[in-house]
């Protein structure tokens, strides 16, 4: 890989974009934590500059031919060198820009949301930490570096989920998220170690080069490592079977949910997959597993979303399902479809979360029925933005989601996965259904003829700081609306990523967009029939079947299953073993050690104390014996 275009310039800009948030984190945590306004200004300033840098890089390298890579040796140990570096190619650049943009917008939004919170400064410190880790993750040049920042992102997520740590459920949720993602990361790390042992390097350009990898690794080994790394992706992107942490993570502040748990951090898993697309595509088994997992997660999460009453939970389930959708696209062999959906999804999901946040803030509840009853529809901009976001989520033209979703569907059809295609269609239908169910519930509340006026303008602790929130909403909405039309230039741009991008643009099935729209329309109609129209009872068809309602409401009993497994395997099995080990071996050894020390002490005491002349006699007798031995024996 030869660096092509002006090397120092891009490097400096990237490094600055990476270091500024870190600097902000340090300054805020060390110095300005107690000064809220200043901390916010520092953090937002850093994020804004990063965004500028990202835009500059994007413009600068729009025509790039070959990826840029800058590497320096970080540590050397014997035969082993660990490089650290920056890899700029279309995928990382676009993700870089997305992360910088969403971070910046969410931080601005938080100005309004978090105003008056006692942990305001800390909050911005954590946000900066996250921005730093996530930005560095996107441009990392080796898997080891990705892994390091992957864990740092997890740490930031833990800190932010448990931000209101005095609330028990919040700290529990933080722990749960941390532990569950860690479960996947163990697999990831194992995969890395295996790869390292086999290849001796973790550089992404090497890994994604089919020629070298294919020559050095047996197909079985490729599949094994790919699956192990995929384990990390499953954890991070909350896919089946590690998906239950994401809904719980909604305990954190809503902007955090918008930034970490929908737009960027959970997308890191999908990003890693697209990063290593060339590697994964060497193993058909891994791709099939990916497709299957994506499908299962998408369907499971959609069904869960259908019965949820908590507005944030709905969007959390929807995030899982959309991430599954992306994995389906990637698993079907189309890098662009997955990456494109990743980008569009980041935009509209952040928008949806921020809107949900506006509702929650004004009505003081997460329950969408309650929000509707309290007159949530009077919050004009939030309602309009939610409709735009939900439209994009459902894939309605001409919003951004329409294009990316239709691409994935097309690819599934093209690559000969009819079952997956059908599942995706069902998933899209369910997605539309639950999105509009939510909208109708908020728009047409029942039994609320004389609802009290919402406390919108005199209400909460942040009166007068509305403008950052609404501005951000409209920005994101605008992006959502127009992003779809950039499909072709984006595709051209991403196509220059080179490796693993041979998949041509799918032959357009002219009937597919129409069919998708029809499907969406049917779903909207059903939602209207059940929730929207005047006489609707606002009870979905799922809720009329108690079995299904239970199943979906309890998250398919996944949490119960985990609890059961935890109880039987860990508490009754492993931990009993450990207890026995603790008691018998460790305690026993320590007791024995103590006892023998005391015994030895007694012996030494007896030798030292008492009559020294007896010891002397023994000594002399020994010396005489020695003389005899040497004189006669030797």
């Amino acid at each position: 890989m030869q660096p092509a275009t002006p090397l120092p310039n891009s490097l400096i800009v990237t490094a600055a974009a990476l270091l500024l948030p870190l600097l902000a984190f340090g300054v805020i945590m060390l110095a300005t934590r107690s000064r809220h306004r200043l901390s916010a200004a520092i953090s937002i300033g850093a994020a804004g500059l990063s965004l500028l840098a990202a835009v500059y890089l994007l413009v600068q390298h729009w025509q790039m031919q070959a990826p840029l890579i800058f590497q320096a040796v970080w540590m050397v140990s014997g035969q082993m060198t660990i490089p650290i570096g920056i890899l700029l190619d279309p995928i990382s650049l676009s993700m870089f820009a997305v992360v910088a943009a969403i971070s910046f917008l969410v931080q601005v939004y938080s100005l309004g949301y978090m105003a008056g919170d006692p942990g305001f400064g800390c909050y911005y410190g954590c946000m900066s930490l996250f921005a730093w880790a996530m930005l560095t993750l996107t441009v990392s040049s080796s898997l080891l570096q990705i892994y390091i920042f992957w864990e740092l992102v997890g740490l930031a997520s833990y800190l932010l989920i448990g931000f209101w740590f005095d609330k028990f459920s919040a700290s529990e949720a933080g722990k749960k998220a941390f532990v569950m993602t860690r479960t996947g990361d163990v697999a990831f790390l194992l995969g890395l170690v295996l790869l390292w042992l086999q290849l001796g390097t973790l550089d992404i350009p090497v890994l994604t080069n089919p020629a070298t990898v294919g020559a050095q690794l047996s197909p079985g080994m490729i599949t094994l490592t790919a699956l192990l790394i995929f384990g990390g992706i499953v954890g991070k992107s909350a896919q089946f079977p590690l998906l239950t942490w994401l809904p719980d993570a909604m305990e954190g502040p809503t902007p955090v949910s918008a930034l970490l748990h929908s737009a960027t951090m959970v997308a890191a898993g999908v990003y890693l997959f697209s990063r290593l697309f060339g590697f994964f595509s060497l193993s058909p088994t891994a791709m099939a597993v990916c497709l299957t997992i994506g499908t299962i997660s998408m369907l499971l999460a959609s069904t869960m979303a259908m019965v949820a009453r908590d507005i944030k939970q709905v969007w959390a389930y929807s995030t899982i399902s959309q991430l599954g959708f992306m994995l389906m696209g990637l698993g079907a062999g189309s890098l662009f479809a997955g990456a494109f959906h990743l980008i569009t999804h980041a935009g509209f999901k952040a928008l949806l979360f921020l809107c949900a946040d506006v509702f929650i803030h004004h009505c003081g509840t997460n329950d969408m029925f309650e929000i509707g009853r309290q007159g949530g529809r009077r919050l004009k901009s939030a309602v309009v933005c939610t409709i735009i976001g939900a439209g994009a989520l459902s894939g309605l033209p001409p919003l951004s989601g329409f294009f990316s979703k239709e691409m994935i569907l097309g690819h599934l059809l093209d690559s000969g996965h009819p079952v997956a295609f059908l599942a995706a269609a069902v998933g899209a239908f369910l997605t539309t259904y639950y999105s509009f169910r939510l909208i109708f519930i908020i728009l047409f509340p029942r039994d609320s003829g004389d609802a009290p006026p919402p406390e919108s303008h005199d209400g909460h602790h942040h009166a007068g700081s509305e403008w950052p929130m609404t501005t951000v909403l409209w920005c994101l909405a605008g992006v959502t609306v127009v992003l779809g039309f950039f499909q072709t230039p984006l595709h051209d741009f991403l196509a220059r990523a080179g490796t693993g991008f041979q998949a041509a643009t799918p032959a357009h099935h002219s009937w597919l967009p129409v069919a998708a729209c029809l499907l969406a329309a049917v779903a909207i109609l059903q939602a209207w029939f059940e929730y929207g129209r005047k006489k609707a009872r606002q009870i979905g068809w799922v809720e009329q079947i108690p079995f299904l309602a239970d199943l979906f409401g309890q998250r398919w009993y996944l949490d119960r299953l985990y609890r059961y497994l935890l109880d039987t395997l860990v508490y009754r099995g492993v931990s009993r073993l450990f207890t026995a080990n603790d008691r018998r071996v460790i305690d026993g050894a320590l007791d024995g050690l103590g006892r023998s020390t005391i015994g030895l002490g007694r012996v030494i005491d007896w030798v030292h104390g008492g009559m020294i002349q007896y010891r002397l006699m023994i000594m002399v007798a020994a010396v005489i014996g020695l003389i005899l031995f040497i004189g006669w024996g030797g």
């Binding site: 006699m617 005489i624 003389i627």
Partner: protein
């Protein structure tokens, strides 16, 4: 049997008797004085065996310095005479056995060396020759020995210092 041989046996007898007396005295001052006598004998023996310089050192250091140090200490501490037997049997018997055993073993070892039975010619190392030899051949060891003496000096000072501590008063009352 020359006069020197006779002298040797006389001196040897003196040394052994004086040492035996020293070992068995109950009064330590007497013991030390007998030992001084023994060391005088040893000095004469050294002179007889051709080491006049060592004979002088023996008198100056052993009889002069070391024994006087013993006397100092004995006079510093006022010992109560211990009640009971002077030589407890449980300790005396093994001590005699071991010492006699050593004597027998060493005598037998010495006797096995036939070359040692030939009488030796008399010779003398003049102090000048000895000094030159010592400082030419063993100068490093001499330096080390001087360092050892310095350490002993400091060590004796540290050990002998009365420690002022919380329990010092209690100890003041004790003697």
């Amino acid at each position: 049997m020359s006069i020197l041989t006779l002298l040797f046996y006389a001196i040897a007898l003196l040394i052994v008797v004086a040492t035996a007396m020293a070992v068995t005295r109950r009064n330590m001052v007497h013991a030390v004085l007998y030992l001084v006598l023994s060391f005088f004998g040893t000095a004469m023996l050294f002179y007889l065996l051709g080491a006049p310089f060592l004979a002088a050192l023996e008198i100056i250091i052993y009889a002069g310095a070391i024994m006087v140090l013993f006397l100092f200490l004995i006079m510093m501490i006022r010992l109560k005479t211990l009640p009971g037997m002077f030589f407890p049997v449980g300790q005396l018997l093994p001590a005699i056995l071991i010492s006699a055993g050593f004597l027998v073993v060493s005598s037998v070892m010495v006797g096995r060396n036939p070359a040692g039975w030939a009488p030796m010619p008399a010779a003398q190392a003049s102090p000048l020759a000895f000094g030159v030899y010592l400082f030419q051949t063993h100068w490093l060891a001499v330096e080390i020995a001087s360092m050892l003496l310095l350490v002993a000096l400091v060590g004796a000072y540290v050990l002998g210092r009365r420690v002022r501590g919380p329990s010092a008063d209690a100890r003041e009352e004790a003697p």
